[in-house]
């Protein structure tokens, strides 16, 4: 079953009067299978966050459709099995990490001892057990990001959607996060994350999707890259700056055209 299915998705933003609307996502189609870790890569402004916003129902698509586990994203129930971590979020400065997680847990329909146990476990997991009773305003940016990771995992999701997941984390935090994502994969959780940190993606992804100017320009299994390109970074730079796919040297990529090679959906 597809955890994510996106078909001909377009996201446009209104522009000033007399100007054409800005098309952030342009006829994007892809699928993510259950159990995969997929990196959604692109430069700043490529359309990663707009795609994720449309996937999570935060931004109505201009056209096309998106589904989570076969259910249209417009329906609130489509998010029942999804954990989401935004790029940056400043959780209420007047609540503690425990209270923050309790709020999100109750909104997810959890309650009682189940919720309390799960919060305690997650705070331990993200290394905030000692800070569970201090106000969020005393926490550093990295610690708040850990609160965010905990809230994303709170509902024991089948799909994790992470937007610029490692922003704000120190190197140790990033390593721990990688391990955590791998553990989630072992449990059958699908992970879809956007990033422009290519080294992170190379280490943990099964597959990468590269988006540029709102269009999908490459879709590859990471195993395909091994031994054929020097690094994911080289491959990525070739794609977005020079418009060539190093794995298909004969074909020069035109970013205006939809060229997707590699892994079959």
């Amino acid at each position: 079953m597809n955890a994510i299915r996106v078909e001909n998705l377009c996201v446009e933003y209104r522009a000033a009067r007399g100007k054409k609307p800005l098309r952030a996502v342009d006829d994007l189609s892809f699928t993510v299978q259950e159990g995969e870790i997929v990196g959604f890569l692109g430069v700043n402004g490529a359309g990663k966050t707009s795609t994720i916003k449309a996937l999570m129902g935060f931004q109505p698509p201009s056209s096309g459709r998106a589904e989570l586990f076969g259910e249209a994203v417009e329906r609130a129930t489509s998010r029942g099995a999804v954990g989401f971590l935004p790029e940056t979020a400043t959780y209420s400065p007047f609540l503690t990490p425990f209270e923050t997680l309790r709020l999100y847990g109750e909104l997810h329909g959890l309650k009682g001892e189940t919720l309390r146990t799960r919060i305690a476990t997650l705070l331990e997991t993200v290394g905030l057990a000692q800070k569970q009773k201090v106000l969020n305003r005393t926490l550093s940016k990295g610690m708040l990001q850990r609160v965010g990771i905990a809230q994303a995992l709170l509902s024991e999701p089948r799909l994790l959607v992470l937007d610029e997941v490692s922003s704000g984390l120190d190197p140790i935090g990033r390593r721990d996060l990688r391990d955590l994502l791998r553990q989630q994969k072992e449990r059958g959780v699908t992970v879809f994350f956007s990033s422009h940190q290519l080294s992170e993606a190379e280490l943990i992804c099964d597959r990468i999707l590269v988006i540029h100017q709102g269009r999908l320009v490459a879709e590859r299994a990471v195993s395909e890259l091994h031994g054929r390109v020097a690094s994911l970074e080289d491959y990525f730079v070739g794609l977005v700056e020079e418009g060539r796919d190093a794995l298909e040297p004969v074909v020069a990529l035109n970013h205006k055209a939809r060229v997707v090679a590699g892994v079959a959906a």
């Binding site: 998010r79 029942g80 007047f94 709020l103 449990r187």
Partner: protein, 277 residues
């Protein structure tokens, strides 16, 4: 990080979105968070102290031999409670959604299996309950100070409390609607202006009312939708020791208060339901 996540189970937690019990749980969760936030902000305590000081200050004239100040002291007490609770109410209601947007915590909220109406309703109930708690704290302080100074308050006080609580529903619905249509600052300013000028605005509709005119339905509709905040305010009747008013106007105001609050909230929801965040 300790990465022992043995208790995490990747089972599906897709839950039904509807249902009264579910909506109640959402409202309760938001209310708990809103109360904690409000009680941890220090501004409420400043207003409580200020109310007590104002009542004691007005009573202090008796020390200089001025007598017959009961009405004046009561006026000061309940005016302070009215003004401060309105300010707190507007500020609490106006920050419910815009603050989630500015902190970007709206994303993890909307990522839950809840509809935008449930989110908005939960926030509305949270703001309403928070306003009532703040108002009751201020009213309790004023009442205790009046008791300490030996100034009696008539039973109409309880009707005053009840109607004020209903009025805060209108205040929260109206202010939240404004906060979804404009910036937080503009919503606060307009809500405070309309609340303070409420009596004048609604009186204008009464003045234009003419039993023989054909536009009466329009005037009636305008009156119902006008900022009727003052309609729920019995401050002057408490100050001037009125007897409790009969049940029918109270019941009418209760029946009017909830639908009109939900009307304003629904108006805000119409803007919010498809809004890109």
């Amino acid at each position: 990080m300790n990465l022992d996540t043995a208790t995490l189970n990747p089972s599906n937690h897709a839950r039904k979105q509807g249902g009264l019990a579910r909506t109640w749980q959402i409202c309760r969760a938001f209310t708990q968070a809103s109360l904690l936030e409000t009680l941890r902000r220090k501004d409420l305590y400043v207003l409580v102290v200020l109310t007590a000081l104002m009542v004691f200050g007005s009573y202090s004239f008796t020390f200089f031999g001025v007598s017959g100040l009961e009405i004046f002291v009561k006026d000061m007490a309940f005016t302070a409670v009215g003004i401060f609770s309105t300010i707190v109410g507007v500020l609490v209601a106006a920050r419910q959604v815009p603050e989630e947007l500015s902190r970007r915590t709206i994303y993890p909220l909307l990522a839950r299996p809840i509809t935008r109406w449930q989110l908005l309703l939960g926030k509305f109930v949270a703001a309403w309950v928070t306003c009532i708690v703040c108002f009751l704290m201020l009213a309790l302080v004023a009442r205790l100070v009046l008791l300490a100074t030996g100034i009696p308050v008539q039973p109409i006080f309880w009707q005053y409390l009840l109607l004020k609580c209903v009025g805060f529903g209108w205040l929260c619905g109206f202010t939240m609607c404004l906060s979804l249509l404009m910036s937080q600052g503009a919503a606060v300013t307009i809500a405070l202006l309309l609340c303070s000028g409420s009596a004048v605005i609604t009186r204008a509709f009464v003045m234009f009312y003419d039993p023989t005119s054909g536009i009466n339905p329009l005037i009636n509709a305008g009156y119902a939708l006008a900022p009727n905040y003052a309609l729920f305010d019995l401050t002057k009747k408490v100050v001037y020791d009125w007897k409790p008013i009969s049940a029918s106007p109270i019941l009418f105001l209760l029946a009017y208060g909830l639908p009109i609050s939900l009307f304003w909230l629904s108006l805000g929801w119409m803007r919010f339901r498809k809004q890109a965040v």
